[in-house]
């Protein structure tokens, strides 16, 4: 007993240091979404539940703004619907393959209950999970365009890797000339990503629209990614250095839709 007391007295500072560091690590693992997901490798039900409750409370006080956003989105969708109707009538044959490709997709609405934008590995948590038929590798879009890809699914919540994550790249194309490249984030500004693999002989201009290529089974063709913000070409470069301003503002993202591809090929069946 005396030895134990002597030991505790002698190393008391180091023990306090260890204890405080352990407390800090527990706080990190229980209060930060990214670290939490890295530790448990799945969406955490309790934290997401608390986040959901917090979002519900905050959301109640933002109903007026939400209504305005939804009204504006409704108006835009109506316009789009009318435009599509006209297009179908006028160009049935030419557009049929594109239209059918979109009919193969099912949209599952979800609410964002947690999001980070200031890390290199950002994540967002949505309030739909296994019981809503959400699966890993499903695409996620918002009112303004591409958001990310589902990376982990819990019973009621799912974890989404957004484009603003340094380990994700999304196959995209320039809308005006159909050139295909990849969009990836460099970990700096959450409003901009890089568009790569656009060859030097291709004409790229500021303001060009960038959309999904439709080459993968995650997103349909033509979902908005953003607009070319800046492009440059050095003398020896074979590819354009293109910066794209994302159409999705992650800082104000509240509602998303998860995309179910009904024509998805099971693994091993090409």
């Amino acid at each position: 007993m005396r030895n134990l007391l002597q030991f505790l007295t002698r190393y008391s500072n180091f023990l306090i240091f260890l204890m405080l560091e352990v407390v800090a690590f527990i706080l990190i693992c229980t209060n930060n979404e990214y670290q939490q997901s890295a530790v448990w490798s799945s969406a955490n039900r309790v934290v997401a539940g608390v986040e959901g409750m917090k979002t519900n409370i905050v959301g109640y006080f933002r109903l007026r703004t939400e209504n305005e956003v939804l009204t504006a989105e409704n108006a835009r969708l109506k316009e789009e619907l009318m435009w599509l109707g006209n297009q179908i009538e006028e160009q049935t044959e030419r557009d049929s393959s594109y239209l059918y490709s979109h009919l193969d997709w099912e949209y599952i609405p979800a609410k964002v209950v947690g999001i980070t934008t200031n890390k290199q590995h950002n994540y967002l948590t949505i309030n739909k999970g296994l019981r809503d038929s959400i699966e890993v590798d499903m695409g996620v879009v918002g009112a303004d365009g591409v958001v990310g890809i589902v990376s982990a699914v819990g019973e009621k919540y799912s974890l989404v890797v957004p484009i603003i994550h340094t380990k994700i790249s999304i196959s995209s194309r320039l809308k005006n000339n159909g050139q295909i490249g990849g969009t990836a984030w460099d970990g700096r500004n959450c409003h901009y990503v890089n568009l790569t693999e656009i060859a030097r002989h291709i004409d790229v201009n500021q303001g060009d629209t960038v959309v999904t290529s439709g080459l993968t089974e995650v997103f349909p063709e033509g979902v908005m990614v953003g607009e070319v913000y800046e492009t440059s070409l050095g003398q020896g470069d074979n590819y354009h250095q293109t910066i794209v301003k994302l159409s999705t503002d992650y800082k104000s993202l509240r509602y998303v839709q998860v995309l179910r591809n009904n024509n998805k090929q099971p693994y091993g069946m090409d």
């Binding site: 500072n13 800090a24 500004n189």
Partner: protein
């Protein structure tokens, strides 16, 4: 009176960090964390356990502000734990030093050495814990170097100015 002075100083440091230094982003590659000045200048006579507890509280204050609970706390506790050890090793006649630690009280070279090592350790811990993986280790190191340089320059500027 001493503890009132320290509380006022902490409030000033918090406000300066949150309102000014948090916004000095170098293209997303880092920003100065000048609040370590508060921990660096603490009186040398303070018990080590109290120093670590103060470090934990200061870290938690910034964690709440930065929405990164635990990250700054871990780094500040480490800063407070290693400070007396470094001061003891780098400074001769530490016993004669009374009150707060400045370059004038322990010598400029010793102060810079101590501040630099502690700042790099602190910043490395903050950026490593935020990244939570060594996949982009070079990015963590670059952020640490840029932010540490800025922090040290600003603190040394203040140290010279306060003379």
């Amino acid at each position: 009176m001493e503890w009132i002075k320290q509380i006022v100083r902490l409030i000033v440091v918090v406000l300066l960090q949150v309102l000014l230094f948090d916004h000095l982003q170098i293209a997303g590659w880092g920003f100065p964390m000048v609040y370590v000045l508060f921990l660096m200048n603490m009186p040398v006579q303070i018990p080590r356990w109290a120093e670590m507890l103060i470090g934990a509280v200061v870290g938690l204050v910034f964690d709440v502000w930065h929405s990164s609970i635990g990250v700054n706390m871990a780094a500040c506790v480490a800063f407070s734990f290693f400070r007396p050890i470094l001061l003891g090793n780098l400074t001769q006649d530490l016993e004669r030093v009374k009150g707060e630690i400045y370059s004038a009280s322990i010598g400029r070279i010793e102060y810079v050495k101590c501040l630099s090592i502690l700042t790099v350790v602190h910043h490395l811990m903050v950026f490593s814990l935020e990244a939570w993986s060594w996949h982009n280790w070079w990015m963590v190191l670059v952020q640490t170097l840029i932010s540490s340089t800025l922090t040290i320059l600003i603190i040394m500027g203040y140290d010279i100015f306060r003379k």
